[in-house]
């Protein structure tokens, strides 16, 4: 990664911008938590909004602080596999959880 000095200086200004964005999103996530979103007796709405903001923040950190926007294809290859496996783990475990064999007891 051959960066010129000027490039790095402009990157630094950009990092500060991302930092401000992250702070705003953090405030947003706390502020929005006082409202109840979605159905009356369910916390699904708030959960989705909270996770969406967190994912956005994590995306900012990964994309800019961790330089994923300018990373080499090799890194993406195994990150892709990792993300696929995590998602598979979540989805399949949840499927198994929500599709049980319901026991039937006969006297």
């Amino acid at each position: 990664m051959a960066h010129s000095a000027e490039e790095i200086r402009s990157h630094v200004r950009f990092y500060i911008g991302v930092f401000v964005g992250l702070i705003i999103l953090t405030i947003l996530t706390v502020w929005i938590d006082q409202f109840h979103i979605g159905a009356e007796d369910s916390d699904v709405g708030n959960t989705i909004v909270g996770l969406a903001i967190a994912t956005l923040k994590a995306g900012l950190v990964a994309a800019f602080f961790m330089h994923l926007t300018s990373e080499k294809p090799m890194i993406f290859r195994f990150l892709f596999a990792t993300v696929a496996f995590v998602i598979a783990m979540f989805i399949l475990m949840l499927l198994a959880h929500f599709d049980p064999i319901v026991p039937v007891f006969v006297q």
């Binding site: 195994f78 596999a81 990792t82 496996f85 598979a88 783990m89 399949l92 475990m93 198994a96 599709d99």
Partner: protein, 613 residues
């Protein structure tokens, strides 16, 4: 074989330099042989340690087999010794094996064989020694991490071995350590008669040992992947990479990504045991007739998901390196290119991917619904396709070759039908309807032992005979090798073939008396004796190997740099290779298996030699 009389020009010069090179590095004994960062020394350390653990695991199995064939009878020869070492609680008044000891041997046999024996030998030893040589690298990418990986493995192994000698003995909840059984194993709640230590009890030490082993394989796999990606010699493109390196690369990815969920499970079970949490403990859990004072609300299924998320990729961690070794040995001794190299590579990669989405076929009996079962049955059947591609390619590679049946080739050819039996008998287990009957019977034991014992371990033996000259500079004895191979082949089958019959007859895998007290088992009890006698004979059959391994180091026939007329890069180094491996920078000119190229003067064209034309 006329070829061997004309050594390659590059190997010629090695012979002269080899001896000066050896004395160039003035390292002390400790730095050179104990705390070494040289991948070759670490590979040999891994190999010897793992072989030792394989022997321990085998010994546990021999004792268990005695109990199965002669339930309740005194352990012959070493009964008194065991009583002194393990204590009265483990060995009964008549010097017989107690149920607790049987359980702990069962759990530790599995753990030791899988995590301390086969994986370190296949991945740690062969991977460490051979991969950097085959890709033309001076060492691994992170030599210090490599050393840390070995020492972490050794610490984990020592913790597991020490757990035999603490009050209450080693872990006894199976190699799977299912919760809630394992959550209360080795605690006063489960067995008030024994004074268990808070930390130094069997199950807790098992968990701590596993944490070290997982760290070890994490360090190892990061190192392997980086090395294979970064340190390939110039000209060694991906499709020129020997198949063994491909197998190790995919194995490393499996270790890297599948082990962390097991670490999570181990941490959570440690919390359940030490901090009183209820990760895996449901509300209203009753142990020994009384409700346990816990908060409850946990999920026992969570443990099984996390465990088998590791557990199934782990199966391929056990197999793939052996397939890689067999591919090397077969091409070398048939003097033919590997048939279907590219399809084997892609099959291996696909196998790696699929192995992450089949895990719940170990859990058909946990009350999963039909939709999820259908998904996992489908993926499980699909994953047999790449496996079949691998083994079919290897079998076709034999076709039309003038095969040299030296010891490594005997083991490699025997691997094919043994692995085939193991694989094909797995297919019925993929279907939940059949699995309901066969689950937890000896059929399952026979199935996966065919894959791992006569399968993988034969592959590893082939690797030892094949690469031994490179490690030591001397060949192993062919005569002792054949005395090792033929009895091993016969008695391996003597042990595992009857297990299929037992399994289909409904023998449960965890019966302590081998079925003596069960009406349904009476007709087939005699097979237990067949298996046990086979196991004893198998133990005797390993004696020639042990003698061969140590005697040949000093007394074997001297080997040249390329004693098998092979084409891959590890044979371009001096024998044994010095620190830094290659005497001068190497370049790769062709694919890995160019044997019997038409128009060439020799029947092998090494990767490191430019075209003669």
């Amino acid at each position: 074989m006329a070829s061997s009389t004309t050594p390659a020009p590059s190997t010629d010069s090695h012979q002269e330099h080899a001896h000066d090179e050896h004395h160039e590095h003035e390292l002390g004994f400790w730095q050179k042989y104990i705390f070494s960062t040289d991948h070759k020394v670490i590979g040999i350390q891994y190999g010897l340690t793992a072989l030792g653990f394989l022997l321990v695991g085998f010994g546990l199995m021999i004792l268990m087999r005695w109990q199965l064939a002669y339930p309740g009878e005194a352990i012959p020869f070493i009964g008194n010794l065991l009583k002194n070492v393990l204590g009265d609680q483990m060995i009964g008044a008549n010097n017989e094996m107690t149920p607790d000891l049987y359980n702990s041997f069962g759990a530790m046999h599995g753990t030791i064989m899988v995590f301390l024996g086969v994986v370190p030998l296949a991945f740690g030893a062969f991977g460490n020694y051979v991969v950097p040589l085959q890709i033309g690298a001076p060492d691994m990418a992170f030599p210090k991490l490599n050393m840390a990986s070995y020492w972490s493995y050794l610490v984990g192994g020592v913790i597991l071995l020490m757990s035999f000698f603490v009050p209450g003995g080693a872990a006894k909840s199976g190699w799977t350590s299912y919760s809630p059984l394992a959550s209360f194993a080795d605690t006063a709640l489960q067995n008030p008669g024994i004074e268990y230590h808070m930390i130094f009890n069997g199950q807790t030490m098992w968990l701590l040992g596993m944490v070290f082993l997982i760290s070890s394989s994490l360090l190892g796999s990061v190192n392997f992947i980086t090395t294979i990606i970064q340190l390939r010699a110039p000209g060694l493109t991906w499709m020129r990479l020997p198949f063994f390196c491909w197998a190790q690369l995919v194995t490393a990815f499996l270790l890297l990504l599948a082990f962390p969920p097991l670490e999570v499970a181990a941490i959570m079970q440690l919390m359940d045991r030490l901090a009183g949490t209820s990760f895996f403990l449901p509300t209203g859990l009753i142990v020994n007739g009384a409700q346990v004072a816990i908060s409850g609300g946990g999920s026992p299924l969570l443990y099984q998901h996390l465990f088998w998320f590791l557990g199934h990729p782990e199966v391929y961690v056990l197999i793939l390196p052996a397939v890689g070794i067999v591919a090397e040995v077969i091409t070398n001794n048939t003097r033919k290119p590997l048939w279907g190299y590219k399809s084997m590579v892609f099959a291996t990669i696909i196998l790696g991917f699929l192995s992450f989405v089949v895990w719940a076929h170990h859990m058909y009996l946990t009350g999963m619904g039909t939709k999820v079962s259908a998904f996992f049955q489908t993926t499980t059947v699909i994953i047999s396709i790449p496996s079949v591609i691998l083994i079919t390619s290897l079998i076709i590679s034999l076709w039309g070759g003038s095969i040299r049946f030296n010891t490594q080739m005997l083991f490699a050819t025997a691997f094919l039908p043994m692995f085939g039996i193991g694989g094909l008998t797995g297919l019925p287990l993929a279907f939940s309807a059949i699995d309901l009957y066969l689950h937890d019977t000896y059929y399952v034991i026979a199935h996966f032992h065919y894959v791992v014992a006569p399968g993988t371990i034969f592959g590893l033996f082939a690797g030892i005979y094949y690469w031994y000259p490179k490690m030591s500079g001397r060949k192993m004895s062919e005569r002792l090798g054949k005395m090792h191979f033929w009895p091993s082949l016969v008695f391996m089958n003597g042990i595992f073939l009857p297990m299929f019959i037992h399994g289909m007859a409904g023998f449960h895998r965890r019966w302590y008396d081998g079925g003596a007290s069960y009406e349904l088992a009476q007709n087939l009890l005699w097979l237990n004796k067949v298996m046990t006698i086979s196991a004893f004979c198998l133990a005797i059959a390993q004696i020639p190997f042990i003698i061969n391994l140590f005697i040949s180091w000093k007394l074997g026939r001297k080997a040249t740099d390329n004693p098998w007329d092979a084409t891959t890069m590890e044979w371009a180094t001096p024998t044994p290779p010095p620190h830094g491996n290659f005497l001068k920078p190497v370049t790769v000119y062709r694919g890995p298996y160019e044997y019997s190229v038409p128009g060439e003067t020799r029947d092998f064209s090494p990767q490191w030699e430019p075209d003669s034309k």
